[in-house]
């Protein structure tokens, strides 16, 4: 636990990728296999099933710290991180544990799930008392499962490749799918490439997804339009559908197994030949066209799927790539070849829809056609270089997304709230209003888009111009105008403005505009179309 807490601190202390990889490599080469496997499991974002409600954890912590609930909440607002708040509030540490990480996880953490509340409370308080402050912090992170420390899976993969000498692509693939963080898995993960993974790991394992880069400059700079296979960019859930040994697996990009949530696609799997992996987008799909993504959210939220919702919001797999065929890995084959195989195996009149290829070969025509994106309920185009292999992760060069311009609205900052994580104790979460009959009505919340410098400036403004406070929310003098950009807009009875937007962010601080120049509800309604 000591080495692990130090690793956590080292990762947290640097923003430099190379130093993070170096710290990971140092830890993973020195740690016993049982510890290394668990550390990697958490660092790539996997977590055990929920061990206990954070509400209870909070209560036991404030009782142990001797502070009332309201003060715990105030501290939480200032710190912006739950695990850290607890570590900072607990009485000063008298001890420091030298027991290994796997002991703490297997003997002390996992048993929490099955125990009764009083027992759990006792165990937790005992654990805190055995640890120093840095260890308590790492431990709280393990319990809450909010383990983000600025380490992406690809950094962990780089470190694993450095530790093992196995190519990063192979390590990335071995990490996909279902496995248990055991010393045996750790050995297989680091085994030389040929000896490779054991079959039980491989059965349901998806491939690392190939991701597209956004087109930033002129699309002409990428080359001729004819060099690309062009498809629409669909707005759904990216997924791989796998059929192996008579079983079907549907994986999200977040590596969540979703097979049970989409019975239509489980049924589709049964129609596929043995040893098949299809890459595509799960879409709410009815009568040959997509439904708004909000319909999908209705469906995702449910624990059980009744026949009514299945009828109202059926899904399809918009298939665009074939990664495995007859059990063979096709990823090094050229794009057109994979596409031809995909077309050949697609079961007719099923939940599989082939992503249409757009037959236009000039950027000029494509630019015109792209204007139809909103009407077609897509986000623009995907550009895939002809002849390219299926790569691992986000690489510049072969796959591009050429999205339509976002919507934009000028709105006034009306509420602010402190952020969390690295933005704790700064006002970084904003609510913006637009004019509705002479009053500013809350319209959208946004957290991103400003530079650190601008954030500090807005923070100072909020501190000087708070007119009222409701809990952590500060109402400010309506003076600052921002241009908000967002991807989608629709009517919503759940919002005060009657409108909901998707992915809002701050595009620009409009210092040139006065609050009275901000947009009105009428102009915004017109965008809904």
């Amino acid at each position: 636990m000591r080495a692990f807490a130090q690793l956590y601190a080292a990762l947290d202390e640097t923003t430099k990728t190379n130093e993070k990889v170096a710290a990971l490599t140092r830890y993973l080469s020195a740690a016993p296999a049982a510890d290394a496997a668990w550390a990697m499991h958490f660092l790539i974002g996997r977590r055990p099933k929920r061990l206990l409600e954070s509400r209870k954890l909070a209560q036991w912590a404030w009782e142990e710290a001797g502070v009332p609930e309201w003060l715990f909440a105030e501290c939480g607002n200032a710190v912006g991180d739950f695990a850290e708040t607890i570590a900072l509030l607990l009485p000063p540490a008298a001890l420091s544990t030298s027991l290994p990480l796997h002991y703490w996880i297997e003997e002390r953490l996992l048993p929490l799930a099955a125990a009764g509340d009083e027992t759990r409370r006792g165990w937790l308080v005992e654990a805190w008392r055995e640890m120093d402050q840095g260890q308590r912090f790492a431990w709280n992170k393990l319990i809450t499962g909010e383990f983000r420390v600025g380490v992406s899976q690809s950094l962990v993969v780089r470190a694993l490749a450095a530790v093992s000498g196995v190519a990063a692509e192979i390590v990335a693939h071995r990490l996909m799918g279902q496995w248990q963080p055991t010393p045996e898995f750790w050995e297989r993960l680091l085994a030389p490439a040929a000896g490779g993974a054991a079959p039980e790991d491989a059965l349901g394992r998806p491939y690392p997804f190939c991701l597209a880069f956004p087109v930033e400059g002129k699309v002409e700079d990428l080359g001729g339009a004819g060099e690309f296979q062009i498809e629409w960019k669909w707005d759904g859930i990216r997924a791989q559908l796998i059929r192996r040994q008579g079983r079907t697996f549907l994986w999200s990009r977040g590596e969540e197994l979703m097979t049970d949530r989409f019975p239509e696609l489980a049924a589709l799997g049964a129609l596929l030949p043995e040893g098949t992996t299809i890459d595509g987008e799960v879409l709410p799909w009815k009568d040959g066209a997509p439904l708004p993504f909000a319909q999908m959210q209705r469906r995702i939220g449910r624990k059980t799927l009744g026949s009514r919702i299945l009828a109202e919001v059926p899904v399809a797999l918009m298939a665009f790539d074939l990664l495995e065929h007859g059990g063979a890995d096709l990823r090094q084959q050229p794009l057109e070849w994979r596409r031809a195989q995909l077309e050949a195996l697609a079961p007719p009149s099923s939940a599989l829809v082939l992503s249409p290829v757009v037959a236009e070969s000039s950027w000029e025509n494509l630019r015109h056609l792209r204007q139809e994106s909103r009407a077609r309920k897509v986000e623009g185009f995907m550009l895939k270089r002809r002849g390219s292999p299926y790569r691992v992760g986000r690489r510049r060069g072969d796959w591009w997304k050429w999205k339509i311009e976002p919507y934009s609205v000028d709105a006034v900052l009306i509420y602010a709230q402190a952020g969390s994580g690295r933005r704790a104790s700064l006002f970084t979460d904003y609510t913006f209003g637009i004019w509705d009959q002479g009053k500013l009505t809350p319209f959208a919340k946004a957290y991103s888009g400003l530079s650190d410098e601008e954030i500090r400036e807005v923070d100072a403004f909020v501190r000087r111009n708070t007119v009222e406070q409701f809990g952590p929310v500060h109402a400010v003098r309506p003076e600052l105008v921002f241009e908000l950009a967002f991807e989608g807009i629709q009517r919503s009875p759940r919002h005060r403005s009657g409108i909901a937007v998707r992915f809002p962010r701050m595009a620009r601080w409009r210092r040139d505009k006065k609050p009275e120049d901000a947009d009105t509800i009428e102009t915004v309604r017109a965008l809904v179309g």
């Binding site: 710290a65 309201w70 200032a78 104790s425 650190d452």
Partner: protein, 321 residues
């Protein structure tokens, strides 16, 4: 009987016709320490050891009178005396007494030992006006020795990696406290010109500081510099230096991360939560006014523990401590 009231320009004592740490130019100001010395007042009263520091911030023409700690003067009908606050050289609490009623205005203060200034002296009073910059229980400072061991370890690692160590710290007060605690045998110590200027003023008052020539210096040096230098061209002359910040805010990871610094060291010229509660307890005050920082939580805590407390406005916050 209220000896102080809040006016447009700050805390005002009507009986004595003076302001305490005013935030606008006024005729008569008592200044608890140099950070609170704003230019343009008619006359200033401050603790003797801090007069030169107040002059450095209020301007060379300012009319500044210095008095010794615990040496009372009478202003109007009010008996005024100054008492060490432990915040920096010449920092003082202001004690006001009239007709048996005693008020103490803390200014900025902290309770731990500091060789660069006189230690905080608790003063009994009826009403205590306290700061609350760090008025939450998550703010709890490690011992100075613990923090300095981390600073030295960081410096050593940088020397081994051939990198200069840029230590950002408030240039007046905290910088001198850190410099005095550095081991001069560990390597060359350097100071940004602003820090160096205040070092000279400290030495003139007889405070012992290790030699710290003006920056830059080599890659084995530790350079103390004001936080405002971080991310400026000045920083570039050191190449790929390691950067760190000394402040009570470094207790929280988020505040360090958003400044994009390599390290944060926890040390402050302000009282942490246990010290705030201890200092308030020691005054025996029935009523506590809370100003600066996390006012509301401290007020509520005090009320729940049987004291009268209220939050009062503060125009300026010391952001970088």
């Amino acid at each position: 009987m209220a000896l102080l009231e809040l006016r447009e320009s700050g805390l005002y004592c009507a009986a004595g016709d003076f302001y305490l740490d005013p935030w606008a130019p006024v005729e008569r100001a008592i200044v608890s320490h140099a950070h609170s010395a704003h230019a343009g007042c008619g006359r200033y009263l401050t603790a003797r050891g801090g007069g030169a520091l107040v002059a450095a911030l209020a301007g060379p023409e300012a009319a500044i009178e210095g008095i010794g700690y615990s040496e009372p003067v009478t202003m109007g009908g009010v008996r005024v005396s100054l008492h060490p606050a432990g915040h920096m050289l010449g920092s003082a609490q202001v004690r006001l007494e009239q007709g048996g009623e005693v008020w103490v205005f803390s200014g900025d203060y902290q309770l731990a030992a500091d060789p660069t200034c006189a230690p905080f002296a608790p003063v009994r009073c009826h009403t205590f006006v306290t700061e609350a910059t760090f008025g939450l229980p998550v703010f709890r400072w490690p011992a100075l020795g613990e923090t300095m061991a981390e600073v030295h370890a960081w410096w050593r690692a940088n020397r081994e990696a051939g990198k200069a160590s840029l230590l950002f710290v408030h240039p007046l007060g905290l910088a001198q406290r850190v410099l005095a605690a550095l081991d001069p045998a560990a390597g060359p110590i350097r100071a940004h010109e602003t820090v160096a200027r205040f070092n000279r003023l400290y030495r003139e008052q007889g405070v012992a500081l290790p030699p710290a020539e003006e920056a830059p210096g080599g890659r084995d040096a530790l350079v103390a510099a004001p936080p405002s230098c971080h991310g400026t061209p000045w920083e570039k002359q050191f190449g790929s230096a390691s950067t760190a910040f000394v402040s009570g805010w470094m207790r929280i990871r988020g505040t360090r991360r958003r400044r994009s610094l390599d390290r944060g060291f926890v040390l402050s010229g302000h009282a942490d939560w246990p010290a705030l509660l201890g200092a308030i307890e020691a005054t025996g005050a029935e009523t506590v006014w809370v100003t600066h920082g996390y006012r509301a939580p401290l007020v509520r805590w005090l009320e729940e523990h049987g004291r009268r407390a209220l939050a009062i406005d503060a125009r300026f916050e010391e952001a970088d401590w």
